[in-house]
Subunit: 655 residues, 2 copies
Amino acid sequence: MTMNDTRTLRQPVVVDFASTTYARIKPVPVTAVELQGDFWGKRFETVRKATLPSQWDLLESTNRLNNFRRVFGEYDGPFEGLFFNDSDLYKWLEAASWLVARGPDAELEKRIEEGIELIERAQEEDGYIDTYFSVDRRDEKWENLRDLHEMYVGGHLIQAAVAHHRATGKTRLLNIAVRFADMLCKRFGPASDGKVEAIDGHEEIEMALIELARETGHTRYIELARFFIKARGHGLLKGGRFGDAYFQDDVPFDQMEALAGHAVRALYMACGITDLYLETGEEGLLPRLETLWDRLTANRMYITGGVGARHDGEAIGADYELPNSQAYTETCAAIGSMMWCHRMLAATGDARYVDLFEWTLYNGMLPGWSLDGRGYYYVNPLENDGSHRRQDWYYCACCPPNVARTIASLPGYVYGTDAASLYVHLYLDSDAKVDVAGKTVAISQRTQYPWDGAIDISIDADATFGLKLRIPGWSREHAALTSREGQAEAGSRVTLSVNGAAVDATPDANGYVTIERAWKSGDRVRLDLPMSVRVWQTHPKVADNRGRVALSRGPVLYCIEQADMKGIDLDEVYVDPARVAANWEPALLNGVVALKGAAERRAIDSAWEGELYRPFGNPRGDVSATPIDLLAIPYFAWHNRESGPMKVWMNYREA
Amino acid sequence: MTMNDTRTLRQPVVVDFASTTYARIKPVPVTAVELQGDFWGKRFETVRKATLPSQWDLLESTNRLNNFRRVFGEYDGPFEGLFFNDSDLYKWLEAASWLVARGPDAELEKRIEEGIELIERAQEEDGYIDTYFSVDRRDEKWENLRDLHEMYVGGHLIQAAVAHHRATGKTRLLNIAVRFADMLCKRFGPASDGKVEAIDGHEEIEMALIELARETGHTRYIELARFFIKARGHGLLKGGRFGDAYFQDDVPFDQMEALAGHAVRALYMACGITDLYLETGEEGLLPRLETLWDRLTANRMYITGGVGARHDGEAIGADYELPNSQAYTETCAAIGSMMWCHRMLAATGDARYVDLFEWTLYNGMLPGWSLDGRGYYYVNPLENDGSHRRQDWYYCACCPPNVARTIASLPGYVYGTDAASLYVHLYLDSDAKVDVAGKTVAISQRTQYPWDGAIDISIDADATFGLKLRIPGWSREHAALTSREGQAEAGSRVTLSVNGAAVDATPDANGYVTIERAWKSGDRVRLDLPMSVRVWQTHPKVADNRGRVALSRGPVLYCIEQADMKGIDLDEVYVDPARVAANWEPALLNGVVALKGAAERRAIDSAWEGELYRPFGNPRGDVSATPIDLLAIPYFAWHNRESGPMKVWMNYREA
């Protein structure tokens, strides 16, 4: 079966909830929004001009593309790299598709076609495609689903194909994905249907299959995703050095009490299950997803939004296990969390999922990408001695193209709609045209966000709808990072006006304030989110953060870096939490708001020289304390200058 | 060549420095000392009665012995387990040898002979032996020295053979080891000699070869060990997911600034290099070894003496990286450190190496062994939620037989001699006969050590020699755990008498106090080491231990365990460091000195419920503090009752 029978071309939305029964908020096409301004406008162009071209060159120079040519005999070297390297091309194609959706780009389109041609020629008769197996490991296909990622790779193929189809209307890549998916449907499923009961060791296929169902209308893909989800947690993957929990195969989802094991796997699993809920409304799924999200954010998440406390097994870790210098917090896990938040928002309509999406965008994912668009972190520690450097690529290069596809699709996350409302999820300088309540509404945001909380929104349409503005969790006076507590008083310092007349800015229980109105072209809305400096402390069970605070402002988390604190051991810096103020620094790191404050340098007693343990109270002599200036930069911008130590959580002096 | 030409049978010493030019202190035979009393006397019997028999049964039931039978066709199953499992039998044979050295044990001797027979029959014509390769992987021999441990396994064969020869005078196993070692000599070495320049990814062969040279008098084994040591650090092992530092192959030894990478490998390497120094006196080696030891103890060692901060790569970790709950601190690494200390003591005569040996014996290795002698920890965290349980065996079972051979040879570490002195390194209830200054001296210790610091030493000999008593580092008033600082005033509270007459107890620069005397039978020495409770704090750069203290008394480190603090969250316990006292508890854990003290329970503010991060100062409400009783038990005895949380480093309240 090919996709000539695709009934309607879908709009280029990242996740398509158009016909999804249980989605309360639908996303808008990635093409509906133009990112503007110095922050996101420039970064978006960086993806096009620097990130994608350099990644394509690396796909070529590292023989990832030759692995495909090898299958059809046009390359005779050995397979190179990791067994799941095909997915790097697929993620790149997904990113490139979101870009070409915006308009012609001859160079990018040429590369996309080149990539699709490689895939097409490498696909086997029966739909199978995985270049690691297609030449000299043909007998080993499907033999080690636990470790060898065939469906994970295929899932990324499907996501790329869906994106390409949505972006271009072309079916060439989609047909490849459909053939692959149909082969899966034929092979895997309940034993009672004569099929193989098996699951892949790395989740990804689940959300991909459901998205393919949305694209094609074929519910068999939802059924297969459902089979994989239900079959998990029963020990089908038995073994491996990290145990069943590594693959989320130790306990069935409906009994799972916390996300655990490999962080990216766990979060991709959660995405797939949320997609299953959105399509089926199956009872029990959503409460369980909410419980897992609450537990994750209340016990196992870094203040960056990052997930993954352990290098060993790339694992989430136990409750309150959040070491800073040894944090793993893979960039892909941050992206997995953002994808999950996007789906949970659709399922619940609750802005707290956008809160975390945005927070993770700035503080969990963005640090993984250098300012020049050509360097990436795989691992994102919150404290480092200066040895951790971004690389232009990795042997395991899952993160770089994952960053690319996320930034390339960011416009699609800014707005949402329901039958009678337009949701503003994210604030960023932009122009958009969105279909809402049967009309096309032009909406612009003029703002210096994330550096400034003043947002001027102009509406160009004559239409009646509710404009729903998210009041970010970080702007609430007393609430914690992800808490719903304190929402009632949240509007206390947020101000809002329509055409100059103040309106109540108190958000509803879902975190949005609604302006119901017959909008006229030229209407102007002004939202002011107070961007005071926030000083954070951590639950006392988190050993690494006792006696330490972190600073944020708006959605941006800060750190101190040696480049700004020359000659000072960052462990000797004690910030005065009451005396930190924001300052725009146009010459610093392409222009950032830096935090400046008063601090003390408390020298570590020289009696410690050469000693690790000493009797209590000794040394306890006078330790010199000298006043110093503190300068903190956005955490996402660290290590874009000379290398040196960095810390998010810094000592503080008691008032 | 076989060992019919062995010229002299060696005494059963653990490491034989009899002809070693650069050894200042020589060990005594393991058979010279009988451990007595409830602490070590009973434990020694436990090795014989519980540990070795149960381990032999496990060698059999896990097919480790069948792997040998498989080579000569008497077992037709597949190879089972890890590629280096042969070494488990070898370590068991070493342990068993030290025991049969003490006198007949028909059951043990039968098993030893059975083991040796398996090895003899499995050895190949050319001396090769490794059951992982000897059947279906014959083409892969020596093909992957980086990962597959052939020389590591062979090193343990050699150590077992040397022990067996020393213990029994029998050459059967020694001949096997010599054939293996001679094959290595033929194959590996400088390319200029037409040999293969290669090294093993896991150090062990170096110290084994040098010991074989000591046993046989053949210096070619020292030459080969020297070749392996010098070839290391030049990237011969290139690759692997943890990088060259994992194997200590990133930098040559003479440029190494800190022990790093895989902890057991690094420490076994240090043992081999110390052995090389002891035999050759090569310039530069000893200062480098001392530098590495200083750096390790001052920056990278747990207060348990354990080494290894990371699960990932079983690695030592960076300076001040010492997480408690995620500590790796493999039991084998503690043993590696003890073996290194023993060699450094010989090289320098400095008691600080015995200080660490003893401290690691009680607090680094002993926790890895259950009180019943049948359970083992591979990983030794300093804090745990109660889920970490000793096991009776491991798939990778390097630790259990390593514990067995260490306890079985412990008598050999108690005393040492030089030309005119008898060193008392360790205090423990025991009777011994030691050759010193040409006479055989009977020496007994009557003591409740480690529970009590009173040691009554009786000498039964008419001989003139210096009795050198170690004044433990922990008994010094102001010094840190491993510091030499404060040694001058160290004797301030230590008292010493000979036949009731007080003598000066001030130790020399090497940490020993010497009683020079023409000893008469019946002379009595009394040493009183003050065993006050010690409260330890950690260098402020160790994030996990800020605001926390640990307790010790004598050589024993303490912890709190849920079983003694029922219903109390151990994170809520704040000890008053000034109010802790020792108490003998005969019914607790087979009899231990427990520490009892005053503490507060400070409830974690309920405002944290469900929150991980909150604005600074919020919550800061009144937190209830209630007085509670603290009971701390020896860390080595944790988890010998019902499972529950445990902590070494506990919160303290300021006076």
